[in-house]
């Protein structure tokens, strides 16, 4: 077993991975400050913040021989017998010098800087800087340069760690950013007429350890110390990227990437990052709307009235059917199916339209934006297959629904974009006796449905999603849904007459016990998700059966 010694403390190295000094020190609970190093980017060892003393311990004699000079921990591999000293006088002096040097030309405009509060320059200065400025005072200067549609550069705040430059070259593969000039006059810039415009550009803001790169979407919207971060799953496509949802008082201000080595590593795409604005759209459906006859105007109900209405329809109905949206969580899909089967044991359960857009987009850094623009087709399909539902293309399912002409048709939506045509809506309306719709936005179907139940958007509900690779991931709620909207799971829970509040974790446990595809699930779900090991054979037909919408 390989051992490294960090500040006198011995730690075991994992056998499968080569660690550098920073990672090895983390194992020992020591945080080595660093700017330029990032696990997802190449090592340049240029910020010199992670300088440590390093040596080797002779395996036979146990004698330690230290190197005379400081070495950057990011560039130094941790091997058996490597000794790191991270808190000696020499190391502390080097860190303080780097901090002092970085602040030489920095405008120190923290009060008007978006990064203040989560800025490494601030944090490290308090931890490793020196109490007093020795450098001459600068006249205040803060130049701003728009790099592209999503990012703006505050030139003078930059510490030249070159993370953003490397990201654009190595991960996005577009290489828009570069370093111009030399020495202390160095700046980050783009070529004229070649702005920073790629689908991963927002990541450079997150990578920036200081306030140099700012997100134009987030700029001056909120001080970061007012934000609370909740773990979440991006529902923009079937990749299932892990995100942080930063909100204040039930309003989302930004999404950030959350590291998951199995899914998105450290990155998320721009469509995902800026794809939360629909949550706060004024167009969202709110209030439970009952339409008594096709021509009469809709009247507003309380949830209790709506529930009684549904239950009475369900009692009278001759045959029931449900359309399950691939935006539903696994738990919601399971509850809906369960309830439909209670209403009518022969009820027809079908998969809703699966939105696709173009082709999968692959980036050189291993990141992929999926063409399938919904988070949970695979999860819903697995649940449907358990219940013997139809998982074929939407056109087929629609035909089956129309020929079944159910007494009660339940349609779940949740799409961000238009998902159903007026003709399809009319057909469905005509086929069903009672039509209940759960959705986020007005659509041709919401114009004609008997009862419209506004649903919850992705950050507003807890539940799990199964991504394109069959990994089940758990997303707790981050904000409360607007008044007059009710999370789908809560609706089904109450229709099933289960007591109290909707408990998705309970439902997931039930799923794990009853549905074969989910037998690998453990509750609570680990942070990086669970690979369901869905058999490849099952994956094949499901993929080809995906609907073009």
């Amino acid at each position: 077993m390989a051992t490294v010694i960090v500040d006198g403390k011995e730690v075991q190295l994992p056998p499968d991975r080569q660690l550098n000094g920073i990672e090895a020190a983390r194992l020992a609970g020591v945080e080595i400050p660093h700017y330029c190093w990032h696990p997802g980017l190449s090592v340049v060892a240029s910020c010199r913040m992670c300088l440590v003393e390093c040596g080797t311990r002779d395996p036979k004699t146990g004698q330690v021989r230290m190197m005379p000079k400081l070495v950057p921990a990011c560039q130094t591999p941790a091997r058996d017998g490597t000794v790191f000293i991270t808190n000696s006088e020499k190391v502390r002096h080097a860190r303080a010098f780097v901090q002092e040097a970085l602040l030489m030309d920095h405008p120190i405009d923290c009060p008007i800087c978006d990064k203040a509060g989560e800025c490494y320059l601030q944090d490290y200065y308090f931890q490793h800087g020196q109490p007093r400025r020795r450098a001459d005072l600068n006249p205040f200067h803060s130049r701003k340069r728009v790099l592209g549609p999503t990012v703006v550069l505050f030139v003078d705040r930059c510490i030249m760690c070159s993370r953003c430059v490397r990201f654009c070259r190595e991960v996005a593969g577009t290489g828009e950013l570069m370093v111009v000039q030399r020495g202390a006059k160095e700046e980050i810039d783009v070529f004229p007429n070649h702005p920073l415009e790629n689908k991963l550009s927002g990541n450079v803001v997150e990578l920036c350890p200081v306030g140099a790169l700012a997100d134009r979407d987030f700029l001056y919207k909120q001080r970061v110390w007012f934000l609370r971060s909740h773990p979440g799953i991006c529902t923009g496509c079937s990749a299932g990227c892990n995100i942080w949802i930063d909100e204040n008082q039930d309003r989302i201000y930004r999404l950030r990437a959350r590291e998951n080595p199995h899914v998105n590593r450290w990155w998320i795409c721009d469509p995902g990052r800026y794809g939360f604005h629909h949550v706060h759209s004024p167009k969202r459906l709110v209030g439970f709307q009952l339409r008594k006859s096709p021509d009469s105007p809709a009247e507003e109900l309380t949830w209790e009235q709506a529930r009684e209405q549904i239950l009475s329809w369900a009692q009278q109905a001759s045959g029931a059917a449900a359309v399950l949206s691939p935006h539903l969580t696994v738990e919601e899909a399971y509850l809906l199916c369960t309830w439909m089967r209670q209403v009518d044991p022969k009820s027809l359960l079908v998969l809703g339209p699966v939105p696709r857009q173009g082709e999968d987009e692959h980036f050189p850094g291993g990141f992929t934006i999926r063409a399938e623009k919904c988070p949970n087709r695979r999860g819903v399909v697995e649940v449907l297959q358990h219940f013997g539902g139809l998982v074929g293309p939407w056109e087929e399912n629609l035909g089956q629904l129309l020929s079944a002409s159910p007494g009660l048709l339940w349609v779940s939506g949740g799409y961000k974009t238009d998902w159903i045509s007026t003709a399809e809506a009319q057909q469905l309306r005509a086929a069903a006796q009672h039509l209940v719709l759960q959705d986020l936005f007005p659509s041709p179907l919401s114009q004609v449905a008997d009862l419209v139940l506004p649903g919850a958007a992705f950050a507003e509900k807890s539940g799990s999603y199964v991504n394109h690779a069959g990994r089940l991931q758990w997303a707790p709620w981050a904000i409360r849904p607007p008044v007059g909207a009710r999370p789908e799971g809560q609706v089904y829970w109450e229709l099933l007459r289960r007591p109290g509040l909707y408990q998705p974790q309970e439902v997931l446990q039930e799923l794990a016990d009853q549905v074969v595809a989910f037998q690998a699930v453990v509750v609570p779900v680990p942070q990086t998700g669970i690979d369901l090991h869905l058999p490849l054979l099952a994956q094949q037909p499901a993929e080809t059966r995906g609907t073009q919408a």
Partner: protein, 451 residues
């Protein structure tokens, strides 16, 4: 001192010394013919190792040892880079060689490429040397005509192509890995090591980078043997196993306040005073020397008392200098203010820092601002301590930077402040009688941002 027959400069000054005709009339390319006919590459490496030749570019690394770091049996290609990006202030010996005797350089290059198994040579030529470009290209063309370059050189089966790559006027491109990055078409940010260039250099292939004067020496080692080379210079100290000795002839560049500045050839180990008195014919205008830069501006400073230090690879460290460097001696007479010397050196390094490592990028700029302020009469005594701290903190020797540029910036600071502290303190007291004791941060004047 004993008379020394110049070797490297033997052809310099002859009529049309840069042509192949003149070079061959004086015995040129005989060594190359013999090497290709009678020696294996490994034997050439051993020969150069045995000669004790150390790199003339500044660091003084043994050349043969460097060559032997190349991986054996590499499928290739292996690249040989000739570092002609001579940009250390005060240095012009490569220029003399390339302008007046380019064939000597090329012959050494071909022999070195043969020894290292390289199939392509890149000559990284400093942008400011247009005449070198002309003469070198001419010489390369002549070599192709004569069959010294190209496919199957002189029937030996060894093929070699030589390309001149012109730099874009950056000091950092003279750094081994900065040069490699630049040849690859990238920004010349020196690379982190390992991997070393011998393993992964230009385009990820094994690469050797040697100075122009080094390969010129290889020509003569191949012609006259290792014993001859070892008979010149200062032998290694037998009591110090780490001393590799200082063998062979060396081109000394003498400039500054001397009567006869120029590029002179002498055996390694000549003292600075000998150089000034014998070759430079003394300090100009009958004045006395106050100080001298021993080997290019980055090597530090010799005081008048230290002028008897031998200019070889090991003696200069003993008087606190960084090393021999490029052996470019710049003499300052007694009228020079040390603060002006410091200002020039700081301005140079702040301008030339590549900007990769924080301590160098900000440290050199910081030092320049302080020195400039002192020079403008707003210095404080505490500034000298800050400057000394910058000098002690930045560089590859304390380990805070990737390449040695910062050491070059640090040594003038350290040497000037430790060796001339009294003068600097007097200057600060005299020019800033009100504020010299203060220590609060000084508001920066706008004009100093203009550098």
């Amino acid at each position: 001192m004993a008379e020394f027959e110049p070797v490297l400069l033997a052809n310099v000054g002859k009529q049309e010394s840069w042509t192949r005709r003149v070079y061959e009339q004086n015995g040129g390319y005989q060594a190359l013919r013999r090497v290709l006919k009678t020696m294996t590459p490994q034997e050439v490496v051993e020969l150069v190792k045995a000669s004790g030749l150390r790199g003339r570019g500044g660091a003084g690394f043994p050349t043969g040892v460097k060559w032997s770091f190349l991986p054996k049996d590499h499928p290739g290609p292996v690249y040989f880079c000739l570092n002609a990006d001579e940009s250390e202030p005060g240095t012009f010996n490569n220029r003399i060689l390339m302008e007046h005797d380019p064939h000597q350089v090329l012959e050494g290059t071909i022999i070195s490429a043969y020894a290292t198994g390289a199939s392509v040579v890149y000559i990284y030529l400093r942008y400011e040397y247009p005449l070198c470009l002309k003469r070198l290209q001419q010489a390369i063309d002549e070599c192709y005509e004569a069959g010294y370059l190209g496919r199957d050189i002189l029937g030996s089966g060894f093929s070699l192509d030589v390309y001149i790559h012109r730099g874009a006027a950056a000091y950092i491109c003279g750094e081994e890995t900065g040069l490699i990055e630049s040849i690859e078409g990238k920004r010349a940010w020196p690379r982190i090591k390992p991997p070393f260039p011998a393993v992964q250099g230009v385009f990820g292939k094994p690469t050797v980078v040697n100075n122009v004067e080094t390969v010129a020496c290889v020509t003569h080692i191949a012609a006259r043997g290792a014993e001859w080379f070892k008979s010149i210079g200062v032998p290694a100290d037998p009591n110090n196993p780490r001393d590799a000795g200082s063998y062979g002839p060396k081109l000394y560049c003498l400039s500054g306040h001397v009567n006869r500045p120029g590029c002179y050839e002498a055996p390694l180990g000549i003292t600075c005073r000998e150089l000034i008195e014998h070759f430079g014919q003394g300090v100009w205008k009958g004045r006395r020397a106050k100080a001298a830069i021993p080997g290019g501006i980055s090597m530090g400073l010799l005081t008048a008392q230290e002028l008897d230090t031998p200019l070889d690879f090991s003696s200069l460290q003993k008087v606190g200098c960084l090393g021999l460097g490029t052996a470019a001696v710049v003499v300052m007479d007694e009228t020079v203010r040390i603060i002006d010397y410091l200002y020039n050196s700081c301005r140079f390094f702040a301008h030339e820092s590549c900007g990769q490592c924080t301590p160098c990028r900000e440290g050199t700029a910081w030092a320049l601002r302080i020195v400039d302020r002192i020079r403008r009469g707003r210095g404080r005594l505490v500034d000298l301590d800050i400057l000394l701290e910058i000098g002690n903190t930045i560089g590859i020797i304390p380990g805070t930077t990737i390449c040695g540029l910062a050491d070059g910036a640090a040594w003038p600071l350290k040497n000037a402040i430790t060796k001339f502290r009294q003068e600097l303190e007097d200057f600060i007291r005299r020019t800033n009688p009100q504020g010299y004791m203060q220590s609060d941060p000084v508001p920066l004047e706008l004009h100093t941002l203009e550098h």
